[in-house]
Amino acid sequence: MNFKHKFVFLFPGLFVLIGILIFPIIFTIRLSFSGWNSYTPEMNFIGITNYIRLFTDDPRFWESFFRLSFLSVTTVILQYIIGFSLALMVWRDIKFKRFFRVMFLIPMMTTPVIMTVIWRTFFHESLGPVNDLLGAFGVGPKWLSDPATAKITVIIVEVWQWTPFMFLLLLAGLLSLPKEPFLAAAIDGASAFRKFVFVTFPLMAPISIGAIIIRLIEASKIMDTVFVLTSGGPGTATETSSFYIYIKGLREFQMGYAATLSFTYLVIMIISLTIIAKVLTKLMIKE
């Protein structure tokens, strides 16, 4: 039997896949070997010059990468803890359950850039309402102008914005759990804490890993919050990899070098996330 005609049906899908996924990656790789910038407006070939520059003469990229790692891991851990707590809360039969479910999702439904502008106004140290309130207690943190506090501010905004996503996934997971293990635990007289540790948490592990990985992927692209809130400052205190790549590519118009940074970053992220997924699986899922 001749099944060649099946390729005709596959072709449109493959074409779209190549167009929107494969081509941009191949183009980025090719661009990363060029010196395209504002004064060399062409896709020339300069070999691995950009890669040599990245690995030998660009500590700022690596600093921004480690800063990003800190910010994304911290925010995702906090989002997981808070999101799981909220999901557990509305999983039970409590009053106004539906109201809380919708309310907890609101931050995720807002536009990140707009919300960050609002947060920036809140945290404005001389005109914002947060320090106005704290001023009554004689406190006035430097939310955006101190290198350490600025990181915390970025974390607060990110956690506020994206915890609902974690909450949504984990609540869906909780609602899909089988009832039998919980009945068995209840018959055995297990306390709420033991039920959580030995039943809920292990059953939720696969979903938790998925949610954490999805959020890590998203958090590793953090850009709009940093852009609006601090512009990477003070100094370089909140500069992340994606913001640094944006500066090199679209502010300084070093397109070739920005492609090198992007591709290297993509490779690092694929490797890191694969390792993280394996480690999480080993830690959280007991055979």
């Binding site: 910038n37 504002s38 004064y39 407006p41 062409e42 003469d57 700022r60 404005h124 140290e125 001389s126 005109l127 914002g128 320090n131 006035g140 430097k142 939310w143 955006l144 102008s145 290198p147 601090t230 512009s231 990477g232 400052g233 003070p234 100094g235 370089t236 205190a237 500066i247 679209l250 502010r251 300084e252 118009f253 070093q254």
Partner: protein, 513 residues
């Protein structure tokens, strides 16, 4: 008979005398934006444009987001469309993306926009894709009114690529009601032993700003602060740093480069003059409002314009905001030249010269050009000429949020601000005298860096100086890092390429162009 003759003569005289008013009213009735002046005759006036017919043609413009420059672009586009029958499509783009949004299609050989707005320091990268302004426009009366400085800013080696629509420079803005207040002058003298006056040097600026920092000196129940400055990383902060540097590093006795030594192309950014300026700037973090280290231009305008600080220095916007009718500090502020320094670095002798030095910084400015691949170049230049005609320009000047600032010699007449904007005559005079001195009289001016890879150079300055402001590095370490980065950029771009372009800017600074 004599009575009739007298009446006829009076009637004719009245018609002649009042005809410009009648003529002006005809257009200001249709276009209320120019109601203060009516149409002003000229090559690109409302009357002249109404005689053009661009029906069936489309003009595409990429401009800044509203309101700054974006709002006047859209307003004048609508007026131009009504007058000429053209269709005008206006795209608004955030400031940070203006360069790339035009540059990517330019480099790909396309012209999705007939007119592109940007900043004057884009000129070196953009000029090969822009149509030089035709002689018809460069020789018209409207253009002859543009100051020599801004003809220079819009031109490259004598060829004009950018049509002047705005003029910018940094200068000092201060609270006149405090500095000129006898009560505060007496108190300051008693407390410090010094005179309270408009600061002549950056050190004096720092002393006065520190004194007036953190207490309620205007009696509004809120504390006020010393100075509002653009310190947020990458948000034009490099321009603020250069404003503080010119007094220490632009030595009129050492021509041949402010940013680099033109002969050797050695970066001068870490010489003691720049380090002194950065040291002052780090000190300034103590007298800005809380969070002032994170102030962008909008914050600076809001802070000084809203009456929060004693001083500010940057473009006109903060002063215009303070002088708008709804401002609580209208007619309580004034303009003055940027402070100077009691000593200036001599890079040839490698020694400080202990004498007073001051240098104006003619920085940036909105710029606009016509793509050389545009198919409607004539219409595009007519639009730009109409945008900057005298009636539109005077009306635009009065609206702070438009971001249109003086660049014509006629703008330096204080009566414009007194009659049409209700400014106090003394303040209007301080404003026009300050601008005129910088634009037309000073021989020690500094212009923005306009070389290939300019954004790499300025980005390195922003990164280095912001590290110093945040306390991550000392001023010397920060500027050494910038100098090292500048060397790397020079090697990438090519020293000769940068040198050739930089020579054009140096010729302007050395008063040879």
């Amino acid at each position: 008979m004599k009575t009739i003759k007298t009446c006829v003569t009076a009637l004719i005289s009245a018609l002649l005398v009042f005809s410009p008013v009648a003529y002006a009213d005809k257009w200001s009735d249709q276009f209320p934006h120019i109601k203060a002046t009516g149409d002003i005759p000229g090559e690109c006036s409302y009357e002249s444009m109404s005689k053009k017919d661009y029906s069936g043609k489309t003009l595409k413009i990429n401009t800044h987001a509203v309101p700054v420059m974006g709002e006047p672009t859209a307003l004048h586009a609508e007026q131009f469309a009504k007058l000429t029958g053209a269709k005008v499509d206006v795209t608004h783009t955030p400031a940070g993306d203006l360069y790339a949004k035009a540059m990517v299609p330019f480099q790909a050989g396309q012209a999705p926009y007939d007119i592109v707005f940007g900043f004057s320091n884009f000129i070196n990268d953009w000029k090969r894709y822009l149509e030089p302004v035709p002689k018809k426009y460069t020789e018209m009366r409207q253009m002859k009114d543009v100051t020599k400085s801004h003809i220079g800013v819009a031109s490259w080696d004598g060829v004009m690529y950018q049509f002047p629509v705005d003029g910018d420079r940094h200068y000092l803005k201060y609270r006149k009601d405090v500095i000129d207040n006898p009560k505060y002058q007496k108190k300051y003298k008693a407390d410090t032993g010094k005179e309270l006056r408009v600061p002549r040097t950056w050190k004096e600026y720092g002393e006065i700003a520190s004194y007036f920092n953190g207490w309620d000196w205007d009696g509004d129940g809120e504390p006020e602060y010393g100075s509002a400055e653009v310190m947020k990383k990458d948000d034009l902060m490099y321009a603020a740093f250069f404003s503080r540097s010119v007094a220490y590093s632009k030595n009129p006795r050492t021509p041949g480069g402010f940013f680099f030594d033109l002969d050797t192309m050695k970066p001068l950014i870490n010489n003691p003059g720049f380090v002194e300026a950065l040291t002052d700037w780090v000190e300034a973090t103590k007298y800005v409002p809380p969070g002032g280290i994170n102030f962008g231009l909008g914050d600076e305008i809001g802070s000084f314009g809203g009456g929060q600080t004693l001083f500010s220095f940057s473009w006109d916007d903060a002063l215009i905001a303070a002088m708008q009718d709804d401002s609580p500090i209208k007619n309580k502020v004034a303009a003055a030249p940027l402070p100077g320094a009691d000593r200036v670095w001599n890079r040839m002798t490698n020694r400080w010269e202990n004498q007073y030095n001051q240098a104006p910084y003619i920085v940036w400015g909105w710029a606009v050009g016509v793509a050389n691949k545009s198919k409607v170049k004539e219409m595009a230049f007519d639009y730009l000429c109409f945008f900057a005609n005298d009636a539109n320009h005077q009306a635009d000047l009065a609206i702070g949020r438009f971001g249109v600032n003086p660049f014509k010699k006629s703008d330096f007449d204080p009566n414009i601000y007194i009659d049409t904007m209700g400014w106090d005559p003394e303040i209007a005079k301080s404003y026009t005298d300050t601008l005129l001195e910088m634009e037309e009289k000073s021989k020690n001016r500094v212009f923005p860096l306009r070389v290939p890879g300019v954004f790499e150079f300025t980005s390195a300055v922003a990164t280095g100086t912001s590290k110093a402001l945040a306390g991550q590095l000392s001023p010397q370490e920060a500027l050494d890092e910038v100098a090292k980065e500048w060397e790397a950029i020079l090697n990438r771009v090519g020293k000769d390429n940068v040198k050739a372009a930089y020579a054009v800017g140096v010729a302007m600074e050395d008063n040879k162009l």
